[in-house]
């Protein structure tokens, strides 16, 4: 995206303000486009009502133009190439050059006009999930409007009535288009920018893809067995950290457009669930959590004070969702003697190495050649060794000396002396330890009295 260029153009657009000619109204606002997956820090709104912009993780917010007091946006539905993490790109469908599309930020009461140009090979629509709007603007293909044919532009126009957290996605060939990455975030800011003001307001959508190792395009027909669990179409270590200044009031807004729920867990802090896509929760009704489960099609806004310095893991608590592509059918090799058989196999398959006899940790320690365009199942290098993660994993970095408004990565946290786990160097008592992999049913005599039926 070239924001400066956009604003120059929108300035030109403003020259026409006041003219209510059809020709002028028909002129489309420029559709800005992003060509990278870097987090772009938005600037304060140049016009319209003031608001504090959100930070879209590995994303950006869409510039608009004001036309006769209407905020005009232009979304282009199109095929995109999205970097999931360094080392892997996906052939997706998205908006304005990326998947997910840009975040749309408006203010409560704004009249919003969104031009949607369809550059996909099939019809599409956009549904404004959670918004209270006229039925004909709801974007359900066939039900509330005809689908937007390829090559055509449709206009959605409505008033953003309620401040809150929303998302947008197609409601035409919906399963396919969402499996291909079509979605975006929407934030309606309160009229008074000081209402529920926070210092940092992060947003992202969870999404999931099934991309065969070595391939680029998601298998759109997969229902549950996805192999890439992403935030804003990024997987660890591709997800930017959520950087905070000590004492900041922090909000994280998340929406779930995958096919399963995600219990999102934050280390080192207690947060409250402050809002859903149905609205803000009355302060007295908010409840404390360290994990918030986001069901399919739901959104959650959590709030906390970043009062604990450090590098705090922030991730989906489904362990398989913090892995990249993996073989779910691969059998467990823990405790299996592979040494002798390894010789036989190596004779037949040069380059073969045994794996998994002691667990899968070695996966992140050894740099083995993988299929092209494939992320290691678990990866990431921290200050003390491999992080052994993937997928829906990032780090909330709380630093005392982080400048207000500075989102740049401060590096790894240095624990103050005496505040880190350490090795016991004193006398070791032999610990009784079960021999690994010896227990077999039948080895042990079971003396269990059964009363009635087993549970």
């Amino acid at each position: 995206m070239n924001r400066r260029q956009f604003f120059t153009h929108s300035g030109v657009g403003l020259l026409g303000a006041g003219l209510i000619s059809r020709a002028a109204a028909a002129a489309l606002p420029e559709a800005a486009s992003a060509d990278s997956a870097a987090t772009q820090i938005p600037v304060a709104p140049p016009n319209g009502r003031p608001f504090h912009p959100v930070i879209t993780l590995n994303g950006w917010s869409l510039p608009w133009r004001m036309k006769n007091s209407v905020k005009e946006f232009h979304l282009i539905a199109e095929p995109v190439v999205r970097e999931i993490a360094p080392g892997m790109v996906a052939h997706l469908w998205g908006y304005n050059g990326q998947s997910p599309g840009p975040t749309i930020e408006v203010v409560e009461g704004d009249r919003v006009r969104v031009f949607v140009t369809n550059k996909l090979p099939e019809p599409t629509t956009i549904h404004w999930h959670g918004q209270i709007l006229p039925n004909g603007m709801d974007g359900v293909g066939g039900l509330t409007q005809p689908q937007i044919p390829p090559g055509k532009t449709y206009v959605y126009e409505f008033i953003a009535r309620h401040a809150g957290t929303y998302m947008y996605h197609p409601h035409a060939d919906e399963m396919v288009q969402m499996a291909m990455g079509m979605m975006g975030f929407w934030v309606t800011h309160p009229k008074d920018p000081n209402t529920m003001r926070v210092d940092r307001d992060f947003v992202f959508l969870t999404n999931a893809y099934d991309i065969e190792p070595g391939a680029y395009t998601p298998k759109v027909n997969t229902m549950l067995d996805f192999n890439l669990w992403t935030w804003n179409s990024r997987a660890f270590p591709g997800i930017d950290p959520l950087v905070c200044r000590l004492g900041d009031k922090v909000r994280i807004r998340m929406g779930n457009l995958t096919m399963t729920n995600h219990p999102i867990h934050l280390h080192g802090h207690r947060f409250v669930v402050a809002g859903t896509d149905g609205g803000w929760i009355a302060p007295a009704a908010r409840w404390p959590e360290v994990t918030v489960d986001i069901a399919v099609g739901q959104m959650r806004a959590i709030e906390f004070t970043a009062d604990n310095p450090g590098d705090w893991a922030f991730h989906c608590h489904k362990a398989h969702h913090t892995m990249n592509a993996m073989g779910h059918q691969v059998p467990t090799m823990i405790g299996v003697d592979q040494q002798k058989v390894a010789e036989k196999i190596s004779r037949l398959i040069p380059g073969y190495m045994t794996m998994g006899s002691t667990g899968m940790s070695e996966m992140s320690q050894m740099q083995m050649p993988l299929p092209p365009n494939t992320l290691p199942m678990m990866t990431g290098e921290g200050p003390y060794g491999p992080i052994e993660m993937g997928g829906m994993f990032s780090v909330v970095k709380v630093r005392r000396d982080q400048k207000p408004g500075d989102y740049s990565d401060p590096g790894w946290y240095q624990q103050p002396p005496g505040t880190q786990a350490y090795e016991w160097l004193g006398e070791l008592q032999p610990a009784p330890r079960a021999a690994a992999g010896r227990a077999r049913p039948g080895d042990m005599e079971m003396r269990v009295k059964r009363n009635g039926h087993a549970h």
């Binding site: 190792p213 059998p331 467990t332 823990i334 045994t354 050649p369």
Partner: protein, 470 residues
């Protein structure tokens, strides 16, 4: 009245006859040798010899042993078979018989002196007669011609037998080498299954695999082991067949075969004129031609009105006065047609036309066989090349990709091993395609310059089954 006649003496008197034929040295194998020189590579063609004494037998044994000391090539295998095959020796003896018949037929039968005593009642009469077969004197040239023709045909038949044995031996050599290769590859398949089974056992022992799944791997292994046994039996069978064709026994059977089949030539033989070559070179066609010529001669047909392409004989009545038909390519077998004239020649005409019809049948079959053999040859080449250049490299690439997936813990070692089995089997299929190419090559040479595959000059043991199990 009782008459008793008793022959007292029948004496055949050898009668020198001027200009009588002589037996050919070595039954005339020299002619056969000459025919074969254009049909077999020099390395495959020994000096053909009819074993008539222990001296030649000893010489032959030494020759064979010298060839057996080196790893056997297809050519040396053929050479040994042509030196040593017993059936071929029997065929040579048949040629000797034909030669002897020719010599006998070119001699007048000896006059005979017969003394007979006739008893009639009390009277006894001694009858002396001196018999001389005058008729044979008149028919001598005809009989001599027939026997000479038979002898010449027998030479061609012997050449066809040599060609058939060379073809069979060559094919048996390809089978034997390929079967040994297959046997080695199936040993590797067995090893892959063995590794999987052992791993499964280890996994079941520590509780990481169900008994059912472990048994599955054991079953794969047992099957792979059985298939290897089968391949070894097939290897033995193929080798034994080659041994039989080469007429070997005892210590001789310990010969060495090369590790692998020869590579395919860079380009397949391009032959657009296979049918013409078959008409020109095939031994069975040459035999038929000679028979027709002889028949014409013996029927006293001399005034050929014109020559016809035997393949068009069926059209003769309709197109008698037409211009000769054009058959497109210059493929044909030209044979004379005669002016039958009088009705008294009806018998000769019928005989001659019958022979023409048979020849026509043979010629059209020969052409068809040549075409088919060439198509089979080309197809076999393309198939073998597809295996070598496309299928096996693809399998190899898939294997490499699978290893990458294994590295990423995306697939299990069992998938890796089963893929390696698939890879080995594709290499094995490639070897079989290579073998089939070489066999098709041998068949093509025989279809072009030998005789019909049905030509059974030798009762060669057919292979019970090709060694293509995997």
């Amino acid at each position: 009245m009782l008459t008793a006649t008793r022959t007292l003496l029948a004496l055949s008197l050898p009668l020198a006859f001027a200009g009588c034929a002589q037996l050919q040295p070595d039954a005339g194998l020299g002619q056969v040798q000459q025919e074969m020189q254009t049909r077999l590579p020099a390395a495959a063609l020994p000096a053909l010899a009819w074993d008539k004494g222990s001296a030649t037998a000893e010489q032959r044994r030494a020759q064979v042993q010298a060839l057996l000391d080196e790893p056997l090539t297809a050519d040396t295998a053929v050479r040994i078979a042509l030196l040593n095959n017993g059936e071929l020796q029997a065929r040579f003896a048949e040629l000797g018989l034909a030669d002897a018949d020719r010599v006998i037929a070119s001699r007048l039968p000896n006059p005979a002196l017969i003394l007979a005593r006739q008893v009639q009642g009390a009277s006894v009469e001694i009858d002396r007669s001196f018999l001389f077969d005058l008729l044979s004197l008149f028919t001598l040239p005809a009989r001599r011609d027939i026997a000479t023709r038979r002898y010449q045909e027998s030479q061609l038949a012997t050449a066809a037998a040599v060609m058939a044995l060379a073809t069979e031996t060559r094919k048996a050599w390809y089978d034997a080498v390929a079967a040994a290769q297959t046997s080695r590859y199936l040993t590797q398949v067995k090893e892959a299954a063995d590794a999987a089974a052992e791993l499964a056992r280890n996994m079941a022992n520590v509780g990481n695999m169900s008994r059912r799944d472990a048994l599955q791997e054991q079953a794969f292994y047992a099957e792979a082991a059985a298939q290897r046994e089968e391949a070894q039996a097939a290897e033995t069978a193929a080798r034994e067949r080659l041994i039989r064709l080469m007429g070997l026994w005892g210590q001789q059977t310990a010969f060495q075969l090369p590790e692998r089949l020869p590579d395919l030539p860079r380009h397949p033989e391009q032959r657009s004129e296979v049918e013409a070559i078959a008409m020109r070179d095939r031994l069975d066609v040459l035999m038929a031609k000679r028979e027709i010529e002889g028949l014409a001669k013996s029927l006293g047909l001399t005034r050929a009105t014109r020559y016809v392409n035997v393949l068009e004989v069926g059209y003769l009545n309709n197109s008698f006065n037409d211009q000769p038909r054009q058959t497109g390519a210059e493929v044909g077998l030209l044979l004379p047609l005669f002016d039958w004239g009088e009705a008294r020649n009806a018998r000769a005409e019928a005989l001659y036309l019958q022979a023409l019809a048979r020849t026509r049948d043979l010629a059209s079959r020969a052409r068809s066989q040549a075409r088919e053999a060439y198509v089979r040859y080309r197809t076999a080449y393309d198939l073998a090349e597809a295996y070598r250049k496309v299928i096996v490299p693809l399998r190899k690439q898939i294997g490499e990709e699978n290893l990458l997936r294994y590295n990423g813990m995306l697939i299990s070692v069992f998938e890796l091993l089963s893929d390696s089995r698939a890879q080995i089997l594709s290499v094995n299929a490639a070897i079989q395609a290579q073998r089939d190419y070489w066999k098709a090559d041998a068949d093509l040479q025989n279809a072009l310059a030998g005789a019909s595959p049905r030509f059974d000059a030798l009762s060669l043991a057919r292979p019970a089954q090709s060694a293509s199990s995997h």
